[in-house]
């Protein structure tokens, strides 16, 4: 048994996290910063964080993930990291020439209280920031929230540190797509454009973290929101944030600073959340939904009606990030499945409330915890077995021990490809999710069927 020490006996733990269902803020900030064109993320802390975050993102995307670090030593940890950051800015612009350096912090620089804004001003005054180049920054203490919090903070910094209101409308809508895959960002953008709406979307990691192999390495790939677009975001007609935790701060900041009206929606995962997304777009932009979108929606419903027998009543365990799990749970309920064990490592009260609302009609007990871990989830599964597990790659250890059909979902996925190329958002992504779930459920049925009931047609 891979997780041989996990047993049914659930003892209340207050201090020890075992097999976390989250990671720390800076990696989310680094991911967000990679969604800006010609931007180099910078980690203001000791270099281990930066190495770990780059490695984790690289393993997930199988793409180059570049970022620099202030490389704190013991001396700078005591006397502050100003000299390190200024030297870093100088070295980066000379050797790598990005348009933007996006600085985030770690538990080290946050604990000692480095004032990054002041240091950046000093670098500017010292002439270390070439004309036309920018250094933006976000405060991302690892001991608050999770990687999603870090993403949200950097997404917000991008908006407020770039946005310049000219007073003349650009005719666009701002979209903050949330902490999703490059494939999802591309899909969300496609849907918006399908409705005839011009988007400014940030961050946008499509064509950055799912780029082509051409035989030529480009440190700054073709994708990413441009700095001009970010500036222009203050002149947009409105903003839509997808995912309360990852995206709401950015659009609310633009609303209060520049009076860009905003709306916060769930991530468009599954039928109903995608419906709400499309309906909101239609309403705010005053456009009608084209037939192409109706067809995609109809295809998703078609697959559900065709294969409903395999979903009906199946119990599911889920682990991941709150913004994903809320619409995902709703999707599973809409398929007449029973999501009954749901854990996120990211703290926050509203998560449990939302899940309880969504699962209120189910005829089974639902275990839900924000700030929980995968050890707890596994114990729940041992006490009340499920038919399917949706989790990031770490879920494979539970899946193997408990012999569960397993769909890799969320972050990080370290042992398969596909997630960065094929979306799981909007109607098309919904079909892909169904396909993935059916694959593992039907594979299981095939594997376990006695020979006489091994079916050709399923």
């Amino acid at each position: 048994m891979l997780l041989r020490h996990t047993n049914k006996d659930i003892k209340i733990r207050k201090a020890l996290t075992v097999n976390p269902a989250k990671t720390c803020q800076p990696i989310g900030a680094m991911y967000a910063a990679l969604g800006v064109h010609n931007c180099l993320p910078h980690s203001h802390g000791s270099q281990g964080c930066c190495a770990y975050h780059r490695s984790a993102l690289t393993r997930h995307f199988r793409e180059p993930v570049m970022a620099a670090t202030s490389s704190f030593t013991e001396g700078s940890s005591v006397f502050g990291g100003q000299a390190n950051l200024i030297q870093a800015i100088d070295t980066i612009f000379n050797a790598y020439d990005p348009d933007v350096i996006a600085v985030h912090t770690t538990c080290l620089s946050e604990t000692i209280g480095d004032d990054v804004s002041q240091i950046v001003n000093k670098a500017l005054a010292d002439g270390k920031i070439p004309p036309g180049k920018r250094v933006i920054h976000a405060s991302t203490p690892s001991y608050v929230g999770s990687h999603v919090t870090g993403f949200a903070t950097m997404a917000k910094s991008m908006a407020i540190q770039f946005a310049e209101k000219t007073g003349e409308s650009n005719g666009c809508f701002n979209i903050v797509p949330g902490y999703v895959e490059p494939s999802d960002m591309a899909e969300i953008k496609r849907m918006v454009m399908e409705l005839g709406i011009k988007p400014i979307m940030w961050p946008d990691t499509s064509n950055v973290l799912n780029g082509p192999q051409t035989g030529k390495y480009k440190m700054f790939p073709s994708g990413g929101v441009t700095t001009d677009e970010l500036k222009s975001s203050a002149d947009s007609l409105g903003s839509i944030a997808l995912g309360e935790l990852a995206s709401a701060d950015a659009v609310r900041a633009l609303d209060s600073l520049h009076r860009v009206p905003c709306q916060v929606l769930d991530l468009p995962i599954g039928l109903l959340a995608t419906d709400r997304f499309i309906d909101a777009l239609r309403t705010v932009a005053g456009v009608s939904v084209p037939e192409t979108v109706n067809t995609e929606r109809g295809q998703l419903i078609d697959v559900i009606t065709d294969m409903h027998q395999y979903f009906y009543g199946k119990k599911v365990a889920l682990v991941g990030d709150p913004d994903h799990l809320i619409p995902l749970t709703e999707f599973l309920v809409s398929l007449d499945m029973k999501p009954c064990h749901i854990v996120t490592g990211t703290p926050g009260k509203s998560f449990e409330r939302r899940i309880n609302e969504i699962t209120a009609g189910l005829d089974c007990k639902v275990n839900v915890k924000a700030g929980g871990d995968m050890y707890l989830l596994h114990q729940w599964i041992k006490n009340e077995p499920v038919d399917l597990l949706l989790a990031n790659t770490y879920g494979k250890y539970i899946a193997r021990d408990e012999d569960l059909p397993f769909v890799r979902y969320g972050f990080p996925i370290l042992d398969r490809v596909g997630h960065s190329y094929f979306p799981t958002t909007c109607y098309k992504g919904g079909i892909r999710l169904l396909e993935k779930m059916l694959d593992v459920l039907l594979e299981r049925q095939d594997r376990d069927a006695p020979e006489e009931s091994f079916e050709l047609v399923m």
């Binding site: 891979l2 997780l3 020490h5 003892k11 207050k14 201090a15 020890l16 996290t17 075992v18 976390p20 990671t23 720390c24 800076p26 802390g45 000791s46 270099q47 281990g48 964080c49 190495a51 770990y52 975050h53 780059r54 490695s55 984790a56 690289t58 393993r59 180059p64 993930v65 570049m66 970022a67 620099a68 670090t69 202030s70 490389s71 030593t73 001396g75 700078s76 940890s77 030297q87 870093a88 070295t91 000379n94 050797a95 790598y96 770690t106 538990c107 080290l108 604990t111 001991y143 608050v144 192999q213 051409t214 035989g215 030529k216 390495y217 440190m219 490592g345 050890y375 770490y394 250890y397």
Partner: protein
């Protein structure tokens, strides 16, 4: 001066020019500093090389591949131990990123034995712990770990904020050890200590030696007993080495620390020889075991078929028993022909190709053997965090100055153990063995074994890597996950020598065969020819198609 390696890659590449180009874009101060860490290899007749700058602080912003002290201590040295509950005291990231990401394989003899490899334990510090201190939470976490898992031992790893807020993990460990009656010990391996993973190795060595080594006097039943130091069983390397050693009749008392257990560490002082694989990470324990218990150490290398044979012979030589010598020769004779057959075949397709290696603190040297065995040449190599002795050989140790950034890494005082000190060989025997060519407590370093004019680069940056690829156009570049895809995108095969790209083992005889085949697969794959679409190769149509 030999320019042998340059002849193969075209007449125009002058390493001095390359070095200039590597430095020209840096600010002046940075260029001066980096210049010391980039050395054109020159070996004089006595085998001496020029000093290289190493184990110095990283240039901020340069895009280093280095990690931190916590990674060196928890991630590298103690992570692979299967039956100790390793608690990371800090915010969640450090524990999360070191959870199963190094491929230290473990195998127990049944489901009853403890194996915590698949678990990540963390105190998941929150802002209130930063403000009010995390000792209370740490104590509670240790208690909860004990209640849930009943381990033999618990260790605590400090992360950046722990040192800053002044949590005393060592006093917490002592208190909980008293309370729970199992061995509990802490490591002050905050990420900002030292300049790289290296400081973490040293801290781990000190800790394991102080708190565990020597606590169990059971004697293993084996005629020849060794410790394998600095072998972490990545991709099953340690299993392959164990297979070969066992076949020779050599017992492994403990491995530091691939597939290791608490008890193995605790009775490592009962072995008769320490065989050191990774010099950088474990030479401290090797020295301390010699001083305190009288166990000599030799440097060995099981990477490469010839190196493996040579290492086995060295071990046999040490035990001075004709029976073992005979057995070792039999094993080599049995294993080598299979390896040779694969080697010959692969060599025919790889001969003359160029490789570069930039890996941690030992593999950039060890793997040169494997490449040479299939006729490939090393044009450039370097370490992330090795010290001058790993580059130039241990003879330079007296000349190494410890700078301000590493001064606070504890050096522990070790003395002869009154009861357990037992010199395994008499002075006369040692002298005799040395006369016969066995060198103790010695490592010659990477540079003396490299070609003249090869570029040796310490703590290579992303910028320098890109320049090297552009200038030398090597056939393969070896490094880690962070470098992998940028290099591959440049159209150059990239082999990870930390994770082995999920392959392995690469140690020992079977490992050598695996590696030859893997390099052959990579450098001769068809895909490198397909990057350009046909419409870019011939953009102009030579004739017009007419659709009728």
């Amino acid at each position: 001066m030999s320019v042998e390696i340059l002849d193969d890659i075209g007449p125009a590449i002058d390493p001095a020019e390359v070095k200039k180009e590597l430095l020209e874009k840096y600010p002046a101060k940075v260029a001066r500093k980096r210049s010391k860490q980039i050395q054109i290899n020159r070996i004089d007749e006595e085998g001496n090389v020029a000093p290289i700058g190493a184990n110095v602080r990283t240039v901020p912003g340069i895009i280093t591949q280095r990690g931190c002290t916590y990674a060196g201590c928890k991630g590298v040295i103690l992570g692979p131990t299967r039956d100790i509950v390793n608690i990371t005291h800090g915010p969640i990231g450090c524990g999360f990123y070191s959870w199963l990401t190094r491929r230290n394989q473990t195998r127990t003899t049944g489901d009853q034995e403890d194996n915590f490899m698949t678990y990540c334990f963390s105190t998941d510090m929150q802002d209130e712990d930063i403000v009010f201190g995390g000792e209370k939470k740490l104590k509670a976490a240790i208690q909860e770990a004990y209640d849930n898992f009943k381990p033999k031992a618990i260790s605590i790893f400090s992360t950046c904020p722990v040192g800053l807020i002044g949590d005393d993990v060592h006093s917490v460990a002592r208190e909980m050890k008293e309370k729970l009656g199992i061995n509990i010990f802490g490591f002050s391996c905050e990420g900002y200590r030292g300049v790289s993973q290296s400081a973490g190795h040293h801290i781990a060595n000190n800790g394991i030696f102080k708190h565990v080594v020597g606590k169990n006097d059971d004697i293993m039943e084996a005629e020849y007993k060794i410790n394998l130091l600095g072998e972490y069983n990545i991709g099953g390397d340690g299993f392959e080495i164990d297979r070969i050693l066992n076949k020779c009749g050599i017992g492994v008392v403990s491995t530091f620390s691939g597939n290791s257990t608490y008890d193995q560490f605790a009775n490592s002082h009962t072995a008769d020889l320490n065989a050191v694989m990774c010099h950088r990470s474990i030479n401290y324990v090797a020295d301390m075991l010699e001083i305190k218990y009288g166990i000599p150490w030799i440097k060995i290398n099981f990477i490469g078929a010839k190196a493996t044979a040579k290492s086995l012979r060295k071990i046999a030589q040490y035990f001075e028993d004709p029976k073992l010598t005979k057995r070792v020769e039999e094993v080599i004779e049995e294993e080598l022909p299979g390896v040779e057959a694969v080697r010959e075949e692969v060599k025919s397709r790889c001969e003359g190709k160029l490789a570069m290696l930039f890996v941690g603190g030992s593999r950039a040297h060890h793997y040169q053997e494997l490449f040479k065995e299939i006729g490939m040449k090393i044009v450039s190599a370097g370490y992330e965090f090795a010290h001058r002795d790993d580059y130039e050989g241990r003879k330079v140790i007296p000349d190494i100055k410890i700078d301000a950034d590493s001064r606070n890494i504890e050096e522990i005082e070790v003395n002869k153990d009154e009861e357990k000190y037992n010199p395994r060989k008499t002075d006369a025997q040692m002298e005799n063995l040395e006369k016969e060519g066995l060198t103790f407590k010695d490592y010659k370093g990477m540079m003396p074994e490299m070609d003249q004019n090869a570029l040796v680069i310490d703590d290579v940056s992303q910028f320098e890597t890109e320049k090297l690829l552009e200038i030398y156009k090597p056939d393969i570049y070896c490094a880690g996950i962070k470098e992998k895809y940028a290099i591959q995108k440049s159209g150059i095969p990239m082999k990870q020598l930390h994770s082995y790209d999920s392959g392995g083992p690469y140690a020992g005889f079977n490992g050598a065969m695996n590696f030859y085949k893997e390099i052959d697969r990579m450098v001769n794959s068809q895909i490198w020819n397909f990057f350009q679409p046909p419409w870019q190769k011939n953009p102009e149509l030579s004739a017009k198609f007419v659709w009728e």
